[in-house]
Symmetry: C2
Protein backbone atom coordinates (compact mmCIF):
# COMPACT_ATOMS: atom_id res chain seq x y z
CA UNK A 1 0.00 0.00 0.00
CA UNK A 2 1.48 3.27 -1.15
CA UNK A 3 0.03 6.65 -0.19
CA UNK A 4 -0.01 9.01 -3.17
CA UNK A 5 -1.61 12.15 -1.74
CA UNK A 6 -2.71 13.55 1.55
CA UNK A 7 -5.02 16.40 2.58
CA UNK A 8 -6.91 17.53 5.63
CA UNK A 9 -10.62 18.07 5.07
CA UNK A 10 -12.31 21.02 6.79
CA UNK A 11 -13.33 19.05 9.82
CA UNK A 12 -9.81 17.78 10.38
CA UNK A 13 -10.38 14.40 8.77
CA UNK A 14 -7.19 13.14 7.10
CA UNK A 15 -7.88 11.97 3.54
CA UNK A 16 -5.16 9.90 1.87
CA UNK A 17 -5.29 8.45 -1.62
CA UNK A 18 -3.39 5.22 -2.01
CA UNK A 19 -2.66 2.48 -4.47
CA UNK A 20 -2.47 -1.18 -3.63
CA UNK A 21 -0.77 -2.69 -6.65
CA UNK A 22 -2.88 -1.37 -9.52
CA UNK A 23 -5.92 -0.62 -7.34
CA UNK A 24 -6.54 3.01 -6.37
CA UNK A 25 -8.26 3.76 -3.10
CA UNK A 26 -8.92 6.38 -0.45
CA UNK A 27 -8.50 6.21 3.31
CA UNK A 28 -10.14 8.68 5.70
CA UNK A 29 -9.07 8.78 9.35
CA UNK A 30 -10.46 10.91 12.20
CA UNK A 31 -8.02 13.72 12.97
CA UNK A 32 -8.37 13.39 16.68
CA UNK A 33 -8.22 9.63 17.20
CA UNK A 34 -6.07 8.71 20.19
CA UNK A 35 -6.65 4.95 20.01
CA UNK A 36 -6.72 2.86 16.80
CA UNK A 37 -10.03 3.60 15.08
CA UNK A 38 -12.55 0.93 14.07
CA UNK A 39 -12.83 0.71 10.30
CA UNK A 40 -15.78 0.82 7.91
CA UNK A 41 -15.19 -0.28 4.32
CA UNK A 42 -17.28 1.87 1.98
CA UNK A 43 -18.71 -0.03 -0.96
CA UNK A 44 -19.99 1.72 -4.09
CA UNK A 45 -21.09 0.80 -7.62
CA UNK A 46 -17.78 1.73 -9.29
CA UNK A 47 -16.30 4.98 -10.57
CA UNK A 48 -14.48 6.51 -7.61
CA UNK A 49 -14.28 10.03 -8.98
CA UNK A 50 -18.02 10.18 -9.71
CA UNK A 51 -18.83 8.63 -6.33
CA UNK A 52 -16.31 10.81 -4.45
CA UNK A 53 -18.73 13.47 -3.10
CA UNK A 54 -21.07 10.90 -1.53
CA UNK A 55 -18.21 8.75 -0.22
CA UNK A 56 -16.38 11.73 1.28
CA UNK A 57 -19.58 12.95 2.94
CA UNK A 58 -20.12 9.49 4.39
CA UNK A 59 -16.46 9.33 5.50
CA UNK A 60 -16.69 12.68 7.29
CA UNK A 61 -19.92 11.63 8.97
CA UNK A 62 -18.25 8.41 10.11
CA UNK A 63 -15.08 10.16 11.24
CA UNK A 64 -17.19 12.37 13.50
CA UNK A 65 -18.28 9.14 15.19
CA UNK A 66 -14.68 7.94 15.53
CA UNK A 67 -14.48 5.60 12.54
CA UNK A 68 -11.82 5.32 9.88
CA UNK A 69 -13.26 4.57 6.44
CA UNK A 70 -11.72 3.31 3.24
CA UNK A 71 -12.78 2.57 -0.28
CA UNK A 72 -11.19 1.15 -3.43
CA UNK A 73 -12.00 1.37 -7.12
CA UNK A 74 -13.88 -1.65 -8.50
CA UNK A 75 -12.34 -3.86 -11.20
CA UNK A 76 -13.25 -2.49 -14.63
CA UNK A 77 -14.34 0.93 -13.32
CA UNK A 78 -12.73 4.39 -13.20
CA UNK A 79 -9.20 4.26 -14.65
CA UNK A 80 -8.88 0.51 -14.22
CA UNK A 81 -8.64 -1.75 -17.30
CA UNK A 82 -11.95 -2.71 -18.86
CA UNK A 83 -12.99 -6.33 -19.19
CA UNK A 84 -14.67 -7.19 -22.51
CA UNK A 85 -17.19 -9.65 -21.03
CA UNK A 86 -18.15 -7.23 -18.25
CA UNK A 87 -18.56 -4.40 -20.78
CA UNK A 88 -20.80 -6.63 -22.88
CA UNK A 89 -22.94 -7.51 -19.84
CA UNK A 90 -23.14 -3.83 -18.86
CA UNK A 91 -24.27 -2.91 -22.41
CA UNK A 92 -26.89 -5.70 -22.35
CA UNK A 93 -28.15 -4.45 -18.98
CA UNK A 94 -28.35 -0.87 -20.22
CA UNK A 95 -30.25 -2.01 -23.31
CA UNK A 96 -32.79 -3.95 -21.21
CA UNK A 97 -33.27 -0.97 -18.87
CA UNK A 98 -33.69 1.47 -21.76
CA UNK A 99 -36.23 -0.82 -23.41
CA UNK A 100 -38.09 -1.04 -20.10
CA UNK A 101 -37.73 -4.83 -20.20
CA UNK A 102 -37.41 -6.86 -17.00
CA UNK A 103 -33.70 -7.49 -16.47
CA UNK A 104 -32.86 -11.11 -17.13
CA UNK A 105 -31.10 -12.93 -14.30
CA UNK A 106 -28.67 -14.28 -16.90
CA UNK A 107 -27.41 -10.73 -17.64
CA UNK A 108 -27.15 -9.97 -13.91
CA UNK A 109 -25.11 -13.16 -13.41
CA UNK A 110 -22.71 -12.24 -16.23
CA UNK A 111 -22.30 -8.74 -14.79
CA UNK A 112 -22.19 -9.34 -11.04
CA UNK A 113 -20.68 -12.79 -10.39
CA UNK A 114 -17.29 -12.09 -12.06
CA UNK A 115 -17.25 -8.65 -10.41
CA UNK A 116 -17.81 -10.19 -6.98
CA UNK A 117 -15.19 -12.88 -7.67
CA UNK A 118 -12.61 -10.23 -8.55
CA UNK A 119 -13.53 -7.48 -6.11
CA UNK A 120 -13.77 -9.49 -2.91
CA UNK A 121 -10.12 -10.67 -2.83
CA UNK A 122 -9.12 -7.06 -3.58
CA UNK A 123 -11.14 -5.83 -0.62
CA UNK A 124 -9.50 -8.51 1.51
CA UNK A 125 -5.99 -7.50 0.38
CA UNK A 126 -6.91 -3.89 1.14
CA UNK A 127 -8.08 -4.92 4.59
CA UNK A 128 -4.80 -6.79 5.17
CA UNK A 129 -2.88 -3.62 4.32
CA UNK A 130 -5.12 -1.24 6.28
CA UNK A 131 -4.94 -3.33 9.43
CA UNK A 132 -1.14 -3.02 9.48
CA UNK A 133 -1.52 0.76 9.98
CA UNK A 134 -1.21 1.77 13.65
CA UNK A 135 -4.11 4.24 13.36
CA UNK A 136 -6.55 1.48 12.30
CA UNK A 137 -7.84 -1.16 14.68
CA UNK A 138 -10.63 -3.68 14.52
CA UNK A 139 -13.51 -4.31 14.46
CA UNK A 140 -14.40 -3.84 10.81
CA UNK A 141 -17.72 -3.13 9.11
CA UNK A 142 -18.80 -2.94 5.48
CA UNK A 143 -21.27 -0.32 4.30
CA UNK A 144 -22.69 0.33 0.90
CA UNK A 145 -23.78 -0.87 -2.43
CA UNK A 146 -23.10 -3.73 -4.77
CA UNK A 147 -24.90 -5.93 -2.31
CA UNK A 148 -23.30 -9.04 -3.87
CA UNK A 149 -19.85 -7.83 -2.80
CA UNK A 150 -21.01 -7.06 0.74
CA UNK A 151 -22.75 -10.42 0.90
CA UNK A 152 -19.69 -12.40 -0.27
CA UNK A 153 -17.40 -10.44 2.08
CA UNK A 154 -19.77 -11.20 4.97
CA UNK A 155 -19.47 -14.91 4.15
CA UNK A 156 -15.73 -15.26 3.49
CA UNK A 157 -14.11 -12.55 5.59
CA UNK A 158 -14.25 -13.27 9.33
CA UNK A 159 -12.74 -9.88 10.19
CA UNK A 160 -15.99 -8.17 9.08
CA UNK A 161 -18.29 -7.98 12.10
CA UNK A 162 -21.34 -6.15 10.74
CA UNK A 163 -22.60 -4.92 7.38
CA UNK A 164 -24.94 -2.22 6.19
CA UNK A 165 -26.09 -3.34 2.76
CA UNK A 166 -27.79 -1.08 0.26
CA UNK A 167 -30.30 -3.22 -1.61
CA UNK A 168 -30.28 -1.01 -4.65
CA UNK A 169 -28.20 -3.01 -7.06
CA UNK A 170 -28.72 -6.12 -9.11
CA UNK A 171 -28.19 -9.46 -7.42
CA UNK A 172 -27.96 -12.78 -9.21
CA UNK A 173 -30.65 -15.10 -7.86
CA UNK A 174 -27.85 -17.66 -7.42
CA UNK A 175 -26.57 -15.56 -4.52
CA UNK A 176 -29.76 -16.23 -2.50
CA UNK A 177 -28.22 -19.54 -1.44
CA UNK A 178 -25.00 -17.82 -0.43
CA UNK A 179 -27.04 -15.35 1.64
CA UNK A 180 -28.05 -18.19 3.96
CA UNK A 181 -24.41 -18.49 5.03
CA UNK A 182 -24.27 -14.89 6.27
CA UNK A 183 -24.44 -14.80 10.07
CA UNK A 184 -23.14 -11.34 11.03
CA UNK A 185 -25.56 -8.55 12.09
CA UNK A 186 -27.03 -6.78 9.06
CA UNK A 187 -28.83 -3.55 8.34
CA UNK A 188 -30.36 -3.71 4.86
CA UNK A 189 -31.53 -0.42 3.35
CA UNK A 190 -34.10 -0.65 0.57
CA UNK A 191 -35.49 2.27 -1.41
CA UNK A 192 -39.06 0.99 -1.74
CA UNK A 193 -39.94 2.98 -4.85
CA UNK A 194 -36.61 2.56 -6.66
CA UNK A 195 -37.77 1.62 -10.16
CA UNK A 196 -34.39 0.24 -11.18
CA UNK A 197 -34.50 -2.22 -8.32
CA UNK A 198 -36.13 -5.64 -8.01
CA UNK A 199 -38.01 -5.15 -4.74
CA UNK A 200 -39.18 -8.73 -4.43
CA UNK A 201 -35.64 -10.00 -4.90
CA UNK A 202 -34.42 -7.62 -2.20
CA UNK A 203 -37.11 -8.97 0.17
CA UNK A 204 -36.21 -12.57 -0.74
CA UNK A 205 -32.58 -11.76 -0.07
CA UNK A 206 -33.37 -10.23 3.31
CA UNK A 207 -35.39 -13.31 4.16
CA UNK A 208 -32.55 -15.60 3.09
CA UNK A 209 -29.81 -14.03 5.21
CA UNK A 210 -28.87 -16.45 7.99
CA UNK A 211 -28.13 -13.69 10.50
CA UNK A 212 -29.99 -13.87 13.79
CA UNK A 213 -29.88 -10.09 13.99
CA UNK A 214 -30.97 -8.47 10.76
CA UNK A 215 -33.00 -5.34 10.16
CA UNK A 216 -34.62 -4.22 6.93
CA UNK A 217 -35.33 -0.53 6.60
CA UNK A 218 -37.36 0.54 3.59
CA UNK A 219 -37.82 4.22 2.75
CA UNK A 220 -39.32 6.30 -0.01
CA UNK A 221 -37.47 8.76 -2.22
CA UNK A 222 -36.05 6.81 -5.16
CA UNK A 223 -32.61 5.30 -5.70
CA UNK A 224 -30.56 8.26 -4.48
CA UNK A 225 -33.14 9.61 -2.03
CA UNK A 226 -32.07 7.67 1.07
CA UNK A 227 -33.23 9.94 3.92
CA UNK A 228 -30.69 11.51 6.26
CA UNK A 229 -32.09 9.65 9.25
CA UNK A 230 -31.26 6.32 7.56
CA UNK A 231 -27.60 7.37 7.60
CA UNK A 232 -27.93 8.16 11.29
CA UNK A 233 -29.57 4.79 11.87
CA UNK A 234 -26.54 3.30 10.10
CA UNK A 235 -24.27 5.06 12.58
CA UNK A 236 -26.23 3.64 15.48
CA UNK A 237 -26.13 0.17 13.89
CA UNK A 238 -22.33 0.29 13.72
CA UNK A 239 -22.13 1.79 17.22
CA UNK A 240 -23.99 -1.28 18.50
CA UNK A 241 -21.77 -3.77 16.67
CA UNK A 242 -18.32 -2.28 16.16
CA UNK A 243 -17.65 -0.87 19.59
CA UNK B 1 -63.30 12.56 31.57
CA UNK B 2 -63.06 11.70 35.24
CA UNK B 3 -59.77 10.89 36.95
CA UNK B 4 -60.17 7.93 39.30
CA UNK B 5 -56.64 7.46 40.66
CA UNK B 6 -53.30 9.17 40.59
CA UNK B 7 -49.77 8.05 41.37
CA UNK B 8 -46.23 9.21 40.69
CA UNK B 9 -44.01 6.60 39.06
CA UNK B 10 -40.39 6.33 40.16
CA UNK B 11 -39.11 8.67 37.52
CA UNK B 12 -41.60 11.38 38.42
CA UNK B 13 -44.07 10.54 35.66
CA UNK B 14 -47.64 11.25 36.76
CA UNK B 15 -49.92 8.29 36.01
CA UNK B 16 -53.66 8.93 36.20
CA UNK B 17 -56.40 6.39 35.55
CA UNK B 18 -59.54 7.87 34.11
CA UNK B 19 -62.93 6.95 32.76
CA UNK B 20 -64.60 8.55 29.79
CA UNK B 21 -68.18 7.44 30.06
CA UNK B 22 -67.80 3.67 30.37
CA UNK B 23 -64.32 3.57 28.86
CA UNK B 24 -61.38 3.16 31.25
CA UNK B 25 -58.04 4.67 30.31
CA UNK B 26 -54.66 5.82 31.60
CA UNK B 27 -52.86 9.12 31.08
CA UNK B 28 -49.15 9.56 31.72
CA UNK B 29 -47.62 13.05 31.83
CA UNK B 30 -43.99 14.06 32.29
CA UNK B 31 -43.47 15.37 35.80
CA UNK B 32 -41.30 18.23 34.73
CA UNK B 33 -43.13 19.63 31.70
CA UNK B 34 -43.25 23.40 31.73
CA UNK B 35 -45.09 23.82 28.43
CA UNK B 36 -48.04 21.69 27.24
CA UNK B 37 -46.62 18.32 26.19
CA UNK B 38 -47.18 16.76 22.77
CA UNK B 39 -49.28 13.62 23.04
CA UNK B 40 -48.81 10.06 21.83
CA UNK B 41 -51.84 7.76 21.87
CA UNK B 42 -50.72 4.22 22.77
CA UNK B 43 -52.60 1.51 20.89
CA UNK B 44 -52.66 -2.11 22.07
CA UNK B 45 -54.54 -5.32 21.28
CA UNK B 46 -56.98 -5.03 24.21
CA UNK B 47 -56.81 -6.02 27.86
CA UNK B 48 -55.34 -3.00 29.66
CA UNK B 49 -54.31 -4.82 32.82
CA UNK B 50 -52.40 -7.50 30.88
CA UNK B 51 -50.81 -4.86 28.64
CA UNK B 52 -50.05 -2.47 31.51
CA UNK B 53 -46.35 -3.35 32.04
CA UNK B 54 -45.48 -2.77 28.36
CA UNK B 55 -47.63 0.34 28.09
CA UNK B 56 -46.24 1.87 31.28
CA UNK B 57 -42.67 1.16 30.14
CA UNK B 58 -43.42 2.83 26.81
CA UNK B 59 -45.08 5.76 28.61
CA UNK B 60 -42.06 6.29 30.89
CA UNK B 61 -39.73 6.11 27.91
CA UNK B 62 -41.86 8.70 26.09
CA UNK B 63 -42.17 10.94 29.16
CA UNK B 64 -38.37 11.07 29.33
CA UNK B 65 -38.53 12.59 25.83
CA UNK B 66 -41.16 15.10 26.89
CA UNK B 67 -44.30 13.36 25.62
CA UNK B 68 -47.59 12.75 27.38
CA UNK B 69 -49.09 9.37 26.50
CA UNK B 70 -52.57 7.95 26.92
CA UNK B 71 -54.37 4.72 26.29
CA UNK B 72 -57.91 3.41 26.59
CA UNK B 73 -59.42 -0.06 26.89
CA UNK B 74 -60.73 -1.50 23.62
CA UNK B 75 -64.44 -2.29 23.20
CA UNK B 76 -65.10 -5.87 24.34
CA UNK B 77 -61.79 -6.21 26.22
CA UNK B 78 -60.81 -6.04 29.89
CA UNK B 79 -63.83 -5.25 32.07
CA UNK B 80 -65.86 -3.84 29.18
CA UNK B 81 -69.02 -5.65 28.02
CA UNK B 82 -68.44 -8.49 25.58
CA UNK B 83 -69.99 -8.49 22.13
CA UNK B 84 -71.34 -11.87 21.01
CA UNK B 85 -70.33 -11.49 17.35
CA UNK B 86 -66.81 -10.35 18.28
CA UNK B 87 -66.46 -13.25 20.74
CA UNK B 88 -67.55 -15.67 18.01
CA UNK B 89 -65.01 -14.20 15.56
CA UNK B 90 -62.29 -14.39 18.22
CA UNK B 91 -63.13 -18.05 18.87
CA UNK B 92 -63.05 -18.79 15.13
CA UNK B 93 -59.67 -17.08 14.87
CA UNK B 94 -58.28 -19.03 17.81
CA UNK B 95 -59.53 -22.28 16.31
CA UNK B 96 -57.87 -21.52 12.95
CA UNK B 97 -54.59 -20.61 14.67
CA UNK B 98 -54.64 -23.73 16.86
CA UNK B 99 -55.32 -25.91 13.83
CA UNK B 100 -52.42 -24.22 12.05
CA UNK B 101 -54.79 -23.24 9.23
CA UNK B 102 -54.29 -20.04 7.26
CA UNK B 103 -56.56 -17.41 8.81
CA UNK B 104 -59.44 -16.64 6.50
CA UNK B 105 -59.90 -12.97 5.59
CA UNK B 106 -63.61 -13.42 6.35
CA UNK B 107 -62.82 -14.15 10.03
CA UNK B 108 -60.43 -11.19 10.18
CA UNK B 109 -63.13 -8.92 8.72
CA UNK B 110 -65.69 -10.08 11.29
CA UNK B 111 -63.18 -9.52 14.10
CA UNK B 112 -61.44 -6.31 13.08
CA UNK B 113 -63.87 -4.15 11.09
CA UNK B 114 -66.50 -3.79 13.87
CA UNK B 115 -63.67 -3.24 16.38
CA UNK B 116 -62.22 -0.44 14.27
CA UNK B 117 -65.68 1.07 13.74
CA UNK B 118 -66.29 1.18 17.50
CA UNK B 119 -62.79 1.97 18.76
CA UNK B 120 -61.93 4.87 16.49
CA UNK B 121 -64.74 7.22 17.65
CA UNK B 122 -63.78 6.34 21.24
CA UNK B 123 -60.18 7.31 20.57
CA UNK B 124 -61.43 10.54 19.02
CA UNK B 125 -63.62 11.33 22.04
CA UNK B 126 -60.64 10.60 24.28
CA UNK B 127 -58.54 12.95 22.21
CA UNK B 128 -61.21 15.68 22.53
CA UNK B 129 -61.10 15.29 26.31
CA UNK B 130 -57.33 15.08 26.60
CA UNK B 131 -56.77 18.20 24.52
CA UNK B 132 -58.86 20.26 26.96
CA UNK B 133 -56.25 19.56 29.68
CA UNK B 134 -53.79 22.44 30.06
CA UNK B 135 -50.83 20.05 30.41
CA UNK B 136 -51.48 18.49 26.97
CA UNK B 137 -50.80 20.29 23.72
CA UNK B 138 -50.60 19.25 20.11
CA UNK B 139 -49.25 17.75 17.95
CA UNK B 140 -50.54 14.22 18.42
CA UNK B 141 -49.12 10.87 17.34
CA UNK B 142 -50.44 7.31 17.47
CA UNK B 143 -48.19 4.40 18.33
CA UNK B 144 -48.94 0.75 18.58
CA UNK B 145 -50.84 -2.26 17.54
CA UNK B 146 -54.18 -3.08 16.02
CA UNK B 147 -52.89 -1.59 12.81
CA UNK B 148 -56.48 -1.23 11.51
CA UNK B 149 -57.29 1.24 14.30
CA UNK B 150 -54.13 3.26 13.67
CA UNK B 151 -54.84 3.20 9.94
CA UNK B 152 -58.44 4.42 10.31
CA UNK B 153 -57.39 7.11 12.82
CA UNK B 154 -54.72 8.29 10.39
CA UNK B 155 -57.41 8.67 7.72
CA UNK B 156 -60.24 10.28 9.70
CA UNK B 157 -58.53 12.23 12.47
CA UNK B 158 -56.69 15.32 11.19
CA UNK B 159 -55.22 16.05 14.65
CA UNK B 160 -52.96 12.97 14.31
CA UNK B 161 -49.73 14.08 12.65
CA UNK B 162 -47.66 10.89 12.56
CA UNK B 163 -48.16 7.22 13.36
CA UNK B 164 -45.93 4.34 14.38
CA UNK B 165 -47.82 1.22 13.39
CA UNK B 166 -46.97 -2.26 14.62
CA UNK B 167 -47.74 -4.64 11.76
CA UNK B 168 -48.26 -7.58 14.03
CA UNK B 169 -52.01 -7.90 14.02
CA UNK B 170 -54.58 -9.11 11.55
CA UNK B 171 -55.78 -6.67 8.93
CA UNK B 172 -58.78 -7.19 6.68
CA UNK B 173 -57.67 -7.05 3.05
CA UNK B 174 -60.53 -4.55 2.56
CA UNK B 175 -58.45 -2.02 4.51
CA UNK B 176 -55.75 -2.01 1.80
CA UNK B 177 -57.91 0.47 -0.14
CA UNK B 178 -58.32 2.65 2.94
CA UNK B 179 -54.53 2.60 3.40
CA UNK B 180 -54.16 4.57 0.16
CA UNK B 181 -55.91 7.50 1.85
CA UNK B 182 -53.28 7.72 4.61
CA UNK B 183 -50.94 10.66 3.96
CA UNK B 184 -49.26 11.34 7.33
CA UNK B 185 -45.67 10.20 8.00
CA UNK B 186 -45.54 6.56 9.06
CA UNK B 187 -43.08 4.23 10.71
CA UNK B 188 -44.24 0.64 10.27
CA UNK B 189 -42.59 -1.98 12.47
CA UNK B 190 -42.77 -5.56 11.27
CA UNK B 191 -41.46 -8.59 13.13
CA UNK B 192 -40.22 -10.55 10.11
CA UNK B 193 -40.36 -14.00 11.68
CA UNK B 194 -43.63 -13.51 13.58
CA UNK B 195 -45.47 -16.73 12.70
CA UNK B 196 -48.87 -15.34 13.72
CA UNK B 197 -48.51 -12.54 11.22
CA UNK B 198 -49.22 -12.41 7.49
CA UNK B 199 -45.95 -10.94 6.27
CA UNK B 200 -47.03 -10.50 2.67
CA UNK B 201 -50.15 -8.63 3.76
CA UNK B 202 -48.01 -6.34 5.94
CA UNK B 203 -45.78 -5.62 2.92
CA UNK B 204 -48.84 -5.01 0.70
CA UNK B 205 -50.20 -2.65 3.34
CA UNK B 206 -46.92 -0.74 3.56
CA UNK B 207 -46.91 -0.46 -0.21
CA UNK B 208 -50.52 0.80 -0.23
CA UNK B 209 -50.08 3.64 2.27
CA UNK B 210 -50.37 6.93 0.41
CA UNK B 211 -47.86 8.71 2.65
CA UNK B 212 -44.92 10.34 0.91
CA UNK B 213 -42.80 9.70 3.95
CA UNK B 214 -43.12 6.14 5.16
CA UNK B 215 -40.51 3.81 6.59
CA UNK B 216 -40.77 0.07 7.06
CA UNK B 217 -38.49 -1.44 9.67
CA UNK B 218 -38.41 -5.23 9.86
CA UNK B 219 -36.60 -7.01 12.66
CA UNK B 220 -36.13 -10.55 13.92
CA UNK B 221 -37.16 -11.86 17.30
CA UNK B 222 -40.78 -12.99 17.05
CA UNK B 223 -44.00 -11.18 17.90
CA UNK B 224 -42.90 -9.76 21.26
CA UNK B 225 -39.19 -9.51 20.45
CA UNK B 226 -39.12 -5.98 19.01
CA UNK B 227 -35.53 -4.89 19.69
CA UNK B 228 -34.84 -1.98 22.03
CA UNK B 229 -33.31 0.06 19.23
CA UNK B 230 -36.63 -0.03 17.34
CA UNK B 231 -38.22 1.77 20.29
CA UNK B 232 -35.46 4.36 20.13
CA UNK B 233 -36.01 4.70 16.38
CA UNK B 234 -39.67 5.29 17.23
CA UNK B 235 -38.66 8.13 19.56
CA UNK B 236 -36.59 9.70 16.79
CA UNK B 237 -39.48 9.29 14.35
CA UNK B 238 -41.80 11.22 16.66
CA UNK B 239 -39.08 13.78 17.41
CA UNK B 240 -38.93 14.51 13.67
CA UNK B 241 -42.68 14.85 13.26
CA UNK B 242 -44.23 15.98 16.54
CA UNK B 243 -41.89 18.81 17.52
Amino acid sequence: MRFTSEQRLDDNVLEREFTLGEIPGILWTPGTASAPAPLILLGHPGGLSKMYPRLAARAQHSAAQGYATATIELPGSGDRPRDAAAEQARADLRRALEAGDPVDDEIVCRLILPLVDKAVPEWQATLDALLTLPEIGGPVGYAGGVIGIGLRLAVVEPRISAALLFAGSFVPRAMLEEARQVTIPLLVLLQWDDEGNDRQLALDLFDAFGSKEKTLQANMGGHTGVPLFAGEDGNRFFARHLK
